[in-house]
Subunit: 205 residues, 2 copies
DNA sequence: CCTGCACTGTGATCGAAATCACAGGGTTTA
DNA sequence: TAAACCCTGTGATTTCGATCACAGTGCAGG
């Protein structure tokens, strides 16, 4: 796997350092990559697949914040890594995925020595921050019907597919809503000719 | 005003550079420091007072995300500055405040030359990111009564006072709720002996 | 093939919060 | 001092979404 292609700005030395110390791990669709409360020992760089990042509620329930795709990194793991605190989020593989785990101990060193690395870190914070802002927008200002449309649209963008294999229950979990509400809203969208509904599959129009 | 005391890690050279190029501005309580959609020309360092950072809804309404106090900086202005995009937030002075405006053009240079500056930037991203996560928590998982309690508690922490001069309408605006709802919830809190209500003032117990 | 289970559709009910309506009390200002 | 205005309290109504209840349907495994 030519992972360097995903990070074209990394200096050769940095690539070498990572290659020597990082571990590549494979996850199957649905696997939990990181749990809330788990101690963080490494920063995750996504090489392949799609990772979903959730915020979890101690009283049960979860809430999908955003996706990570190839070439992106988990901002939260960087934060926790340096502060050596536990994870405040949960990460789940949406499809089979490959992830490069870079040990925390290297982070400080890399930040100092490699300009491309700290630019990457800064860039990561920036984009996640922007995404968090639109998450706030959605839940603060939008109703469930709009949030559902946003959810479907975003998924289509991230995967590039017009079909979406998922059950209503799973959507409800991601949006921290309930299955019946999602079913009804989807039916309305079907009547407005925005989607076609099938068993375990939604077709976007 | 000995602003350097607030940023003890800044190298003398960096302090000098900032002193030469930055402009100090004063705001009165209630002043809008930055509007949504406004073009960002500088990064704001808070020297004195308290700044409230809001997300605005194009269809009207706003939502308080967090506070900035002395020694803190606006993460969003850093992000927008470097990407030279417009502001995605609104900033309002809660009390009379002093702010140091550092021109965008310096940012790149400072990031490269001064370690203390980039550590400060990274640290700023980190803490704002953490705060955004708890904002998401609140609106995704909590009801209005809990959010109101959190709001009052946070304000008490930020100001160190047990009294809070504010109208119910203003609280409703900050929480993107309505005046009647806040009035009723406050009454319930008074019955539970958590607060005492007065005109334009709330006393925390 | 049929049995069980996961997925979907839909009605009924409940609860939280938004909205409407209005009254009374305090403050400001003309 | 009277009028106008803001702030607060409270009832009634409506809307959105959660929850309960239950029925039908497709699918997988024995």
């Amino acid at each position: 796997m030519e992972w360097k292609k995903l990070f074209p700005n990394f200096e050769p030395e940095l690539v070498e350092l990572i290659e020597k110390n990082a571990v590549q791990r494979s996850f199957n669709a649905g696997d939990i990559i990181m749990r809330t409360g788990q101690y963080i020992k490494s920063t995750a760089l996504v090489l392949e697949g799609q990772i979903k990042i959730y915020r979890e509620n101690p009283e049960g329930g979860e809430f999908l914040m955003y996706y990570l795709g190839p070439g992106q990194a988990c901002a939260v793991s960087m934060i926790c890594a340096i502060q050596s605190t536990t994870s405040e989020i949960m990460a789940k593989a949406e499809v089979d995925s490959e992830v490069l785990m870079v040990p925390v101990q290297l982070m400080d060193d890399m930040m100092n020595k490699y300009k491309s690395w700290y630019q990457f870190v800064i860039q990561t914070y920036r984009s996640r921050f922007d995404e968090l802002l639109s998450v706030v927008d959605n839940i603060a200002f939008r109703n469930m019907d709009e949030r559902l449309e946003f959810y479907l649209k975003r998924h289509a963008e991230k995967t590039g597919k017009k079909t979406f294999e998922i059950s209503h229950q799973e959507i409800a979990d991601d949006l921290h809503s309930s299955r019946e509400v999602i079913s009804r809203l989807l039916k309305k969208m079907e009547q407005r000719n925005l989607v076609r509904l099938h068993r375990n599959m939604i077709e976007l129009i």
